[in-house]
């Protein structure tokens, strides 16, 4: 957990964030896709540092394993075989995970006070203790990142190793990357570094090489160097112009009272559900929404929203958030 004095924004909170800090430089992780060999050492380092483990899965006919992000796999390599205009094959390997948007849709969407925070250094972190598992962060994310755990109904994603960064260490994936394709530092330095890399790539014939730091979400604190920055969609559906969905913006804008009322109604309905059907097995955050019956109800009735959403990331994963 990072220093609470450095919190810039908290979800569903109207209190003023602390102002005592400053002089906190925004950080960024730069992933140079052109140098990534897809070795998955970052996946392993992530699991080790954060002490999370998926089940041993299956091979679905590709090199993607685990096949998707999960509550235990906060980063995965996505392998795409692309034949370019010259007929030459490119094997594009993108390390997928939270982009740590400057304008985070998840935080905007989150109804649980303080469950999602943004630190002054730009890291967007989940305080799982306060998560109600409603799934709004999934709706709010233009990159399809957060995953709700089946076990504890909490939402999980990459923390950019906020615990390591807060004590001056680089994220675990950065430390382990054998080819040095993941770098970490101040966002300004990483942009400078990216410019060097883009220049080199252009020299090697990738005329459209560039930095992926999309403005639609205010820029990101995880950035990519892409050989084909004009076609981010090639990289397993990286969205070209990600933005927070109008649905989520509305929820925090003029429609907020209505949405609050809906939450209240669903909470009430959930309470009735609890009275009639009794509690589920899993303990949940009773202080926010009362007993877990409500919460389950809430999830069932609000999670369908993303599917009707106009703004879908380029290729959503086959695995819906659980």
């Amino acid at each position: 957990m990072s220093n609470p004095q450095n919190i810039l924004r908290r979800s569903a909170t109207t209190t003023t964030p602390p102002q005592g800090r400053h002089e906190v430089e925004p950080v960024a992780k730069l992933i140079d896709v052109s140098r990534c060999i897809g070795c998955k050492a970052c996946q392993v380092a992530c699991m080790e540092w954060n002490d999370v483990r998926d089940e041993v899965g299956i091979n679905g006919g590709t090199y993607n394993n685990p096949t998707d992000l999960t509550e235990n796999s906060w980063t995965v390599m996505r392998f795409t075989e692309h034949e370019n205009e010259q007929g030459d094959l490119e094997w594009l390997i993108r390390k997928d995970g939270c982009m740590h948007c400057a304008d985070p849709g998840c935080l905007t969407a989150c109804p649980a006070p303080g469950a999602i925070v943004q630190y002054a250094n730009g890291i967007v972190d989940f305080d799982s203790d306060k998560c109600i598992g409603c799934g709004y962060c999934v709706t709010g994310c233009p990159f399809d990142i957060p995953r709700i755990s089946e076990r504890d109904s909490k939402s999980y994603k990459c923390t950019l190793c906020s615990d390591r960064v807060s004590v001056g260490l680089e994220p675990a994936c950065v430390k382990t990357c054998p080819t040095g394709c993941i770098e970490f530092g101040s966002k300004a330095d990483m942009i400078t570094r990216a410019e060097q890399r883009v220049t080199e790539l252009k020299g090697r014939g990738f005329a459209e090489a560039g930095l992926y730091d999309p403005a639609g979400v205010g820029g990101t604190h995880v950035m990519y160097v892409l050989h084909h920055a004009d076609k981010p969609d090639l990289y397993a559906g990286l969205p070209e112009n990600p933005s927070i969905s109008p649905f989520v913006s509305a929820w925090k804008g003029p429609a907020k009272p209505i949405m609050s009322a809906i939450i209240g109604i669903t909470a009430f309905a959930g309470f009735m559900h609890y009275l009639t059907k009794g509690p589920k097995d899993e303990p949940l955050d009773e202080e926010v929404f009362g007993p877990e019956g409500e919460d389950a109800y809430l999830r069932e009735h609000t999670l369908s929203a993303p599917e009707t959403e106009p703004h879908e990331p380029g290729r959503r994963s086959d695995h819906e958030p659980r």
Partner: protein, 816 residues
């Protein structure tokens, strides 16, 4: 590696062929990345598959598995014909100008004096023409048709781009792009590094493929220079140490060839190893073989080894055949000729070709000992694991003992990496349960065997009872004691030219102090210098790089003599100045009158250029050998032959009329195994096996994290074959060879293309290893169920990389 990992960053062109460095050596691959970024290097990949390395390469060319000699042989022809060679280097630092014996010849795929019965050659004429002093004749105009250069060009005459393309299935334009890029480093200021691994080694022609690569680098003048070399990326963290210490049956330590049957007396043995110079005044360092050998005998047998008893030479076994290799061992085991078998850090059921034969052979043993940190399929070969190991335990009487060993992280000692660096490491944790260090297990075993011999006698107890075993705890020699012993010490005062150089009992400073009079002992001459009076050099951790070119001489210790780039005297011209400033490495300091520079000179340090000693100090010629003389089983020049199992109906397209040279005429194949070779009609697809970055051999399937990131066995087929057979991504397939079948998930990919060989479309099939019937990953088939029981003609390394299979959609229900 002739060079080292960090030095890759100095290359201008990097050719990865016969390996997949990004996949198998991701950490070392960092230096490829550095070369690209900081040296503007071009990365080229030639491989049957578009690999992870190819994914970050500047250029990729496909090739049919097992045809690398055709590709590289064509390159040699191209370099000569277009005069893109480093001429001054070739003339002076190779044997190009030396004249070859008139009796040497080559016709229709065979060298002269081939004996089909024994599948071997009479090598008598595979030598140079010599004068009355035994020195090779030379022609510096390179015009004499008998000079190596002309014979080399003639040998590869048929390897035209079109012919190479027909054999390899590589389009001509892609061949030319690779050749032209490599040729660009024939200039003295540019170098190519060649990175290879088991993709070159594991063929019936593996050694010759690697030789061809060495010849290319000699022609380009890229050996001994920074950013150059022929660089084997070794498959285990310490496999270099295995060969250094002579754990092959035909080796003593430090690459001293073991005695053979017709070397019954010491003088015969040593004469064959001294290697007199073939050009006047050359170093020919093997002339010191007596000192290496006598010091070894003193390390092994201590005071028992004396001049009057030929230093206990009679106690050494004399080989009655070239090699007691692993294929030979299992052949004999299959016939019931082996009583008991020790597997130390070895899982042969998984690691040897033709699992059915291995399994049958193990069942004929009375006992099997497995020394391993992990449970292995071999230790459980008798257990029925359903389809994955379908044996009947009631019919297997082999008694299996499992001796748990410490893993590398629980043990102290040195490992030798691909770059010949001996790096000392300390135990990170203590081992579990009853696990012991390998040295403890072997030490205890030895002392008990010795007790039995002492008590009961035996057929020949002398070598056991007479062995020097002066460890503080005889059943548990310490890593320090062993390392000091390998380095060597003075048994009595050592004098050089009348000067005392080393006092009795002191550790030797290097192999230059070894003596043939019994005054020194050294367990492995090339390791002399690793643990000196100054202490454990392998534990050095100073990464200072004074020249800024990645030469960190204070980091660990590299054999020989801490030299980091072999033959580095070749980085300078005849006059001792660097070929170019960009590639300067060592040079002659005319004021100090010695060789100096960023590396330890791999050369007599005070040998002035005017003296005419040449850089290749281990060769009797003093120069690099384009002509292998009698060193190789198949001939002095490499020739393309097909894999034992070839998908080409016409056989060897170079010699289509000669069925004798379809595959390597010197390959040793056991009769029963020959019957187990498939034909292209039954098994139409060319298959190759390989490793994945997520796993290490058959170990990491026991590790949860590795199992998560690569959980389940799969095979890779191209989209064209998938379409032909109606197989989609994620379907289950059955892959069979003449020797068995496996079932696995299909990865249908654009990365493996159907290629055209001659006038036939050939599909290639990729089969990752790593799965078995034990561990935390999903259960799978041992990939070596499929592979053929044949090895390289020189090393007998099995041909895991080229064989034939059939592929069918699996209808038996997929995942079990």
């Amino acid at each position: 590696m002739t060079n080292h990992w960090v030095d890759i960053r100095n290359a201008d062109v990097i050719l990865v062929m016969g390996g997949n460095a990004a996949e198998a050596h991701p950490v070392g691959f960092r230096w490829v990345t550095e070369a690209k970024e900081h040296n503007n290097a071009q990365l080229m990949v030639v491989d049957p598959r578009f690999t992870r390395t190819a994914s970050v390469a500047d250029f990729y060319a496909p090739i049919r598995t097992g045809t690398d000699i055709a590709f590289l042989g064509g390159l040699i022809r191209y370099l000569i014909d277009t005069d893109q060679i480093q001429r001054e280097y070739v003339l002076n630092y190779t044997d190009a100008a030396l004249l070859v014996d008139e009796g040497f010849g080559f016709e229709d795929g065979l060298f002269d004096n081939y004996d089909a019965e024994s599948r071997s050659y009479d090598k008598e004429h595979w030598v140079y023409q010599t004068d009355e002093d035994g020195f090779a004749l030379r022609d510096d105009t390179l015009e004499n048709p008998r000079c190596v250069y002309r014979l080399l060009r003639a040998h590869f005459d048929a390897y035209t781009p079109d012919m190479v393309s027909s054999i390899c299935g590589t389009p001509v334009d892609k061949i030319m792009r690779v050749w032209e890029t490599l040729a660009s480093t024939a200039t003295p200021d540019r170098t190519t590094t060649l990175l290879y691994a088991l993709g070159w080694t594991q063929h019936s022609l593996g050694s010759q493929i690697i030789r061809t690569a060495g010849m290319v680098q000699l022609l380009l003048g890229n050996i001994g220079l920074r950013g150059g070399g022929v660089n084997a990326l070794r498959g285990h963290s310490n496999i270099q140490g295995l060969t250094d210490l002579g754990l092959l049956s035909n080796q003593l330590t430090g690459y001293i060839a073991a005695p053979v049957d017709d070397e019954q007396d010491l003088d015969t043995f040593l004469t064959a190893r001294r290697r007199a110079p073939l050009q006047p005044g050359q170093v020919s360092y093997w002339q010191n073989a007596d000192a290496f050998f006598v010091s070894l005998m003193k390390a092994w047998y201590g005071d028992n080894a004396r001049a009057h008893n030929q230093w206990c030479y009679d106690w050494l076994p004399k080989l009655d055949k070239p090699l007691y290799d692993i294929l030979d061992t299992f052949e004999r085991m299959s016939k019931g000729e082996i009583y008991g078998y020790f597997c130390q850090g070895f899982n042969p059921l998984a690691a040897i070709p033709n699992k059915a034969k291995v399994s049958r052979s193990l069942a004929k043993l009375r006992y099997l000992v497995s020394i391993d940190p992990l449970n292995t399929e071999t230790a459980e070969f008798w257990r029925n694991a359903g389809e994955y190991n379908d044996v009947d335990p009631s019919e297997i009487q082999t008694e299996v003992f499992r001796l748990p060993a410490l893993s590398f992280a629980e043990d102290e000692g040195s490992t030798v990496n691909s770059a010949r660096w001996l790096q000392w490491h300390y135990a990170a944790a203590s081992g579990p349960g009853e696990a012991r260090a390998d040295t403890h297990i072997l030490g205890a075993l030895f002392t008990r065997v010795r007790e039995l011999y002492a008590r009961d006698g035996g057929a020949f107890p002398d070598p056991i009872l007479g062995m020097a075993w002066n460890y503080k705890q005889p059943d548990e020699p310490s890593p320090e004691e062993l390392a000091r012993e390998y380095n060597g010490r003075a048994i009595s005062d050592v004098y050089l030219d009348g000067q005392l150089v080393r006092r009795m009992g002191e550790q030797l400073a290097g192999f230059g102090e070894l003596r043939d009079d019994g005054s020194t002992a050294s367990g492995c001459w090339i390791f002399a210098g690793s643990w000196t009076e100054a202490g454990n050099q392998m534990a050095n951790r100073d990464n200072a790089d004074p020249y800024g070119i990645g030469q960190t001489l204070g980091w660990a210790w590299s054999w020989p003599a801490n030299r980091r780039i072999l033959y580095n005297r070749a980085s300078a011209k005849l006059d001792g100045t660097p070929w170019s400033e960009r590639k300067s490495l060592v040079w002659w300091d005319s004021v100090q009158r010695r060789w100096t520079g960023a590396d330890i000179p791999d050369f007599p340090v005070d040998s002035a250029p005017t003296r005419g000693q040449m850089p290749f100090i281990m060769n009797p010629e003093g120069v690099g050998k384009l002509f292998a003389s009698q060193g190789m089983a198949e001939g002095p020049f490499p020739t393309h032959y097909e894999p034992l199992e070839s998908p080409v109906p016409e056989g060897n397209l170079l010699f289509p009329r000669n069925d004798k040279v379809r595959y390597n005429p010197a390959a040793r194949v056991f009769a029963q195994d020959l019957e187990m070779m498939g034909t292209w009609e039954e098994y139409p697809y060319a298959a190759t096996t390989y490793r994945l970055t997520e796993h290490f051999h058959y170990w990491t399937k026991h590790v949860h994290l590795n199992a998560i990131v690569q959980p389940e066995q799969f095979v890779e087929i191209g989209e064209a074959l998938g379409n032909e057979l109606g197989i989609k991504e994620g379907d289950w397939v059955r892959v069979s060879s003449k020797r068995g079948y496996i079932r696995a998930v299909a990865v249908v990919t654009k990365r493996i293309k159907a290629i055209t060989v001659g006038d036939r479309i050939v599909h290639q099939v990729g089969i990752p290893i790593h799965w078995g019937f034990l561990g935390l990953a999903r259960k799978g088939f041992l990939a070596n169920t499929l592979t053929p029981f044949v090895g390289d003609a020189n090393t007998q390394t099995p041909e895991f990389k080229s064989f034939l299979v059939n592929v069918e959609k699996d209808t038996s229900g997929g995942r079990t």
